[in-house]
């Protein structure tokens, strides 16, 4: 019996210097996934990320529900960024149903999605801080996140998983006096996150741990298909809000933050700079928003899509997030496919960890802005 085994199943030669280590899926530093690391002493020789522990079948579920009842479950992959996860689906369905969204609803959506981006990044930053043993950086973002969660709660009625966006606009109008409250809390939030520089980003201990670890070159970042903060940290100026503006992003002044280093430090700094940028976008949107008007187009019950396919993508908290919807003139979509940034960024992990010390693994891994549930869908 000398049948050729496929490469993945072939037995590996045992080397007495190399040890295989399973990090996860129960390890707190890995998220809901396993990272198989091969180490020689303290240095990582090879690494094989193994996602798939939290697969929920969101895409299959979407085939049995109509365009409206798909909303609550499609935002579950990233509950802290639920507006942005739902955004491409809603944009796609609007094109399939041929709906024009009111101007005010577009601004409300931009505000909601920018607030959600900040909420997501704050959660990510809190975990990044505790991964590196910096407990102040766990407490501060977790506390300051409350300012924005409070705004989302006033706006949508839920602290996470808002189910706020629908094809045709948003579910409800802003509460009275929201603009003033939002401006006050966002201004304070912006002041607070700028204080993180002294305690975290300019801290020599953080810099010595993350500078020059896990370097992703510009060419590799493009070749591996990374997106979002990982791509921008490697010196590629790419932001879908600017390159392919959706809704009213073309009317707003957006600055893209780019860093050239491509190391863990750059990847952890870019989301923080993005948050400061988001605050500016929210303030612009509040100023330019029409003061009154409808926020939702009335739909027929069980709307049927055209016999078409549509692909839409938006810039989420982690990078470009696409949604491909196939319709066959029925109330339910024929197929919904999510193209998620987390999965695309995870591909870079084996390249980044090769030759690193095992102690640097958490900082490199979490700097990829990875969300396990989103990658598994």
């Amino acid at each position: 019996m000398t049948a050729e085994l496929p490469p993945g199943l072939a037995l590996q030669k045992v080397d007495e210097r190399i040890m295989t280590l399973n990090v996860g899926p129960q390890h707190p530093g890995s998220g809901h996934m396993r990272i198989v690391v091969q180490i020689d002493g303290d240095y990582i020789v090879a690494c094989d990320p193994d996602p798939g522990y939290v697969h929920r079948g969101e895409e299959k579920m979407a085939e049995y529900r109509n365009y409206i009842t798909n909303i609550p479950h499609l935002e579950r992959p990233v509950i802290h960024d639920s507006c942005n996860v739902l955004y491409p689906y809603v944009l796609g369905v609007e094109e399939l149903l041929g709906i024009e969204v009111p101007e005010r609803a577009k601004y409300v959506r931009v505000i909601a999605s920018e607030l959600n981006r900040c909420i997501y990044i704050m959660y990510w930053l809190a975990i990044y801080g505790i991964f590196l043993g910096h407990s102040t950086m766990f407490m501060w973002p977790a506390g300051d996140r409350e300012l924005l969660i409070d705004l989302m709660e006033k706006m949508t009625g839920a602290r996470v998983t808002h189910a706020h966006f629908v094809p045709g606009g948003v579910r409800n109008d802003l509460p009275p006096n929201f603009e003033d409250v939002c401006l006050r809390q966002v201004n304070y939030f912006e002041k607070r996150i700028k204080e993180y520089a002294a305690v975290f980003y300019d801290n020599p201990i953080l810099i010595s741990r993350t500078r020059d670890t896990g370097i992703l070159s510009r060419q590799d970042a493009i070749r591996l298909g990374t997106t979002g903060s990982v791509l921008r940290a490697s010196g590629v100026d790419y932001d879908l809000r600017k390159k392919e503006p959706y809704d009213v992003y073309d009317e707003l002044d957006i600055h893209t933050n780019v860093m050239k280093e491509g190391d863990s430090y750059a990847r952890s700094r870019i989301p923080w700079l993005d948050m400061i940028e988001s605050c500016k976008i929210i303030k612009q949107a509040l100023q330019k928003m029409p003061k009154s008007g409808s926020v939702r187009v009335k739909l027929k019950p069980n709307p049927k899509g055209k016999n078409e396919t549509v692909y839409k993508r938006v810039e989420s908290g982690r990078g470009s997030l696409g949604c491909y919807v196939v319709s066959d003139s029925k109330p339910e979509p024929y197929r919904v496919k999510l193209s998620v940034p987390s999965f695309r960024n995870l591909i870079a992990l084996p390249y980044l960890l090769k030759g690193e010390k095992l102690g640097n693994m958490p900082s490199v891994y979490w700097s990829l802005n990875y969300w396990p549930v989103e990658a598994d869908r």
Binding site: Y64, T69, L147, G157, R171, D173, Q185
Partner: protein
């Protein structure tokens, strides 16, 4: 910037925060203030009214037993079941009304959007925990009761930082 200066700056930034106010909400003693009376929906305009999506409130004198809320929930959580009610209403020929299982409900509010008769709204009540699974099932009679929700603190921003006042 040298290493020592950087560390001193970081420590100094932390020490400065001793003077700021505490932001933590002391939850069971203080409770958050919400806007409005909970999420509501106006079927004539097709737009909702902002508010917390909490426990539902059912108006027996409006409910016609049309089952639209139950149908809306089918694809989401299957939390709504239509049950017989003893009291007779003129508009409700079949005498059936929704019963909601909060062990399954995801508080998306799509049932409120589905109701065309102004019968089902959501309230600010979010403290629904129970010692048994049966305790989470709210019958139409329980849903009729308007809850009392304590609302005492809001985020207040001053020179000494934000706090739940």
């Amino acid at each position: 910037m040298g290493t020592a200066t950087g560390i001193i700056r970081a420590l100094n930034s932390g020490i400065k925060h001793i003077a700021t106010k505490r932001f933590t909400l002391r939850y069971p003693e203080e409770k958050l203030k919400f806007v409005g009376d909970g999420y509501q929906f106006d079927p004539s305009t097709g737009v909702g009214i902002a508010g917390l999506k909490g426990r539902h409130m059912l108006f027996h004198d409006h409910c016609t037993g049309c089952q639209l809320c139950s149908i809306a929930c089918e694809g989401v959580a299957e939390a709504i079941a239509m049950v017989k009610v003893p009291d007779e209403q003129t508009q409700n020929k079949k005498s059936i009304m929704p019963q909601i299982d909060y062990g399954k409900c995801v508080f998306c509010g799509l049932c409120v959007d589905a109701c065309p008769f102004y019968a089902l709204y959501m309230t600010n009540d979010y403290e629904l925990s129970s010692f048994s699974k049966e305790g989470l099932i709210y019958t139409p009679a329980q849903l009729q009761v308007k809850p009392y929700v304590a609302q005492d603190s809001e985020i207040i921003i001053s020179d000494r930082g934000a706090t739940h006042g």
